[in-house]
């Protein structure tokens, strides 16, 4: 094996690339050639390192120096000073407030995290299966096949307490057990990678940064329930994730950890990718299965649940990306280890994409039960420009807001539900004193109106009526009784819609009314937006020049 003096880990996650990471990397390669260092310094393209806002990022080992916001012209000075003379370039490093230049593990953003799902993201080259294997990859699968009866695998997952990370928090082991108990010659395992919640990009980062962890998790699930075939349904908006996953599946087949007779056993499991075509509702599991079958992505009534009667009418386990990425850890390190992280009934970690009005945004992984305060202030570094924290949105268009008064609430499934929000898939949007809550509720509702598939009336028509009322309120024409009308309509939609998308669509409105009723009232009574976001004197309807493209119903 070739030994290098220095390893330069360059983040090749989607966001660093979009911030110009590609051009920095080619500039660096050119500089290394010119300085005759290409044989001494290895460039490794990794997945997302997490602090996306600081991108493009590079970490230099052995020192662990972190360079941030790199531009192509920085390649020259890093090569000349750091690589040739051993003097790290201070002005490009991650700077602590007091002026010191920390190594990766000393940066507060990273120091307060616990990485299980993201264990390899940012550390290994996602396009090289050997690097995954070197970090205990595929050991969990080998262990399952070699010493465990499928029933024991399910027991281990049940014991770990892992709950679905797609948002609802259904116990994963119980879902698997249901599918295991079905008598059927054909069963399926499906990975939901149709991550559509605005403000969420955890699954994209895992697929881009560590695709093998998802493949391994799916293979273990297939072994446990007796499935022969699996699908990963990825949204078309994620071309890089599709590319890396395709490559990883090919490598896994070549290495004998996927395909026929895995690891020499009589267990075979084949995996295919299905690319979506742009429809948010396909993140709902029954709609997703419809879409894999090639149909319109409209949801179906439950029960029967997919574990009983799913893809092509066969028993199907469907979990999301993050859930599957947890499985290899549980198999390798055991359910007992997994239970030590988090709090009882909410074990393990949760990945969040931290966005909005917070100093350091990006991808983070924290133990469940952590407080919102810790996430926003210790990890995220607080609110920019010393403004007041007002609330945080979780669960995207299906969730709600956690107001500043509840900043010490532990982040777990039950506590968030009791506040009228939900865990959701992991989008965490922070808002400061300048964010108008009515505007935000309207914005999310507009999203659901656009994305409603149109199959059931409460969601198709009801959300539209709610939006009309909100348009009225935000343009200064709200009347007494509008808030009550929103509440009544919202509760009806929640109770009568067919699928989760509709049942949760009113949440952002109901939750903002619950915590920020005064803002609604000032729009209606005083014709005033307390945050100066809404233009209350304008005629109803937005200032957009052209209507957006509508999904035809």
């Amino acid at each position: 094996m070739k030994i290098y003096r220095i390893h330069a880990l360059i983040c090749a996650g989607g966001q660093c690339i979009s911030a110009g990471g590609d051009s920095f990397e080619s500039a660096l390669k050119k500089e290394l050639q010119a300085a005759d260092l290409a044989e001494e310094i290895q460039i490794v393209e990794t997945g997302c390192m997490g602090s996306c806002e600081m991108g493009p990022m590079m970490v230099i080992y052995p020192e662990g120096v972190v360079y941030v916001r790199l531009k192509p012209e920085d390649a020259e000075i890093i090569t000349k000073e750091h690589f040739l003379k051993g003097r790290p370039v201070e002005h490009l490093m991650w700077r602590k407030e007091e002026g010191a230049f920390p190594r990766l593990e000393e940066v507060p953003f990273f120091a307060h995290q616990t990485k299980l799902v993201l264990r390899n993201c940012g550390l290994i080259n996602p396009e090289n299966i050997e690097e995954y294997i070197a970090r205990d990859g595929y050991q969990g699968l080998a262990k399952a096949i070699a010493d465990k009866d499928p029933k024991l695998v399910i027991d281990e997952i049940k014991k770990s307490g892992l709950r679905g990370r797609g948002g609802a928090g259904f116990p994963t082991g119980r879902k698997w057990e249901t599918a295991y108990l079905q008598t059927s010659d054909i069963k399926y395992v499906v990975c939901n990678a149709d991550e559509g919640d605005p403000g969420a990009y955890m699954d994209r980062s895992v697929l881009e940064g560590d695709p093998h962890s998802v493949i391994e998790g799916m293979a273990i699930a297939a072994y446990a329930i007796g499935a022969q075939k699996g699908y990963v349904y990825v949204r078309a908006e994620y071309p890089l994730a599709i590319k890396r996953l395709t490559h990883a599946i090919k490598q896994a087949k070549q290495s004998g950890v996927l395909g026929q007779q895995i690891l020499g056993s009589d267990f075979s499991f084949d995996l295919e990718i299905r690319v979506g075509a742009g429809a948010f509702v396909c993140g709902e599991e029954t709609a997703l299965l419809n879409s894999i079958e090639g149909n319109r992505g409209e949801p179906k009534k439950k029960p029967p649940f997919p574990a009983e009667k799913g893809l092509f009418g066969k028993p199907t386990v469907i979990n999301n990306v993050e859930t599957f990425a947890n499985i290899p850890v549980i198999m390798t390190k055991g359910a007992d280890f997994f239970q030590t992280i988090g709090v009882p009934n909410n074990t393990g970690t949760k990945v969040f994409s931290l966005a909005g009005k917070v100093n350091t945004t990006g991808l983070i992984e924290v133990p469940l039960g952590i407080s919102l305060r810790k996430i926003i202030f210790d990890i995220g570094g607080g609110i920019p420009h010393n403004k007041q924290f007002k609330g945080a949105l979780t669960g995207g268009p299906s969730g709600g807001v956690i107001p500043a008064t509840h900043i010490d609430t532990p982040i777990d499934y039950e506590s968030l539900n009791s506040l009228g929000s939900m865990m959701g898939s992991g989008g965490l949007i922070v808002m400061d004193e300048d964010s108008c809550m009515v505007d935000i509720a309207k914005f999310f509702l507009k999203f659901t109106v656009d994305e409603s598939c149109g199959k059931c009336t409460p969601c198709r028509e009801g959300t539209k009526q709610m939006l009309n009322i909100l348009e009225k309120i935000t343009s200064g024409q709200g009347e007494e009784g509008d808030i009550e009308r929103l509440e009544e309509l919202g509760n009806t939609i929640k109770q009568t819609s067919l699928c989760n998308l509709g049942q949760s669509a009113p949440n952002p409105v109901l939750s903002t009314i619950r915590w920020f009723r005064n803002e609604y009232e000032s729009h209606i009574r005083d014709k005033k937006c307390l945050c100066n976001v809404c233009t209350l004197s304008s005629p109803v309807k937005e200032v957009k020049k052209h209507a957006r493209k509508k999904i035809s119903h």
Partner: protein, 144 residues
């Protein structure tokens, strides 16, 4: 165990075969319906359900600009206005030279570098009007 392609995959294939116009021509939809013995109404039903399929010709480059929550908070609306002015087209329209189609996109998952957009398969983040001008200018130079 190779199962046959689903209708959505076949539609993706047809659309990918028109890299300059990114659309599903009526003739090919009808041929698909005939070959696979699927009613044209069903093929159209699927094709028009998903936003990424188009039954009308589009431009060579498809600009998908994100208009979701985080981008909205980062004032993406101004950029959307700017792009419309710059290209002289509205949302869902194609420039006269057939080079660009402008579409709004659901969340691209690049919220930390908001506002963001994707042109074909290339993501762009931390956008400003100057940056947008530069990107469009480059593509105009390369494509004409």
């Amino acid at each position: 165990m190779q199962e046959k392609k689903s209708l959505i995959e076949k539609l993706h294939d047809i659309q990918d075969n028109h890299p300059d116009q990114h659309f599903l021509p009526e003739k090919e939809i009808m041929a698909l319906s005939e070959n696979d013995r699927i009613a044209p109404s069903k093929v159209y039903g699927v094709a028009t359900f998903y936003t990424m399929f188009s039954t009308k010709p589009r431009g060579k480059h498809i600009i998908r600009i994100c208009e979701n929550q985080t981008c909205h908070m980062a004032e993406a609306e101004q950029l959307i206005e700017h792009l419309q002015d710059l290209l002289g087209i509205g949302i869902g329209e194609t420039t006269k030279d057939g080079l660009f189609t402008l579409e709004l996109s659901s969340c691209l998952g690049m919220c930390s570098v908001a506002p963001s957009m994707m042109i074909d398969e290339q993501p762009y983040g931390n956008l400003t009007t100057e940056k947008v001008n530069k990107i469009i200018h480059q593509l105009q130079g390369g494509g004409l």
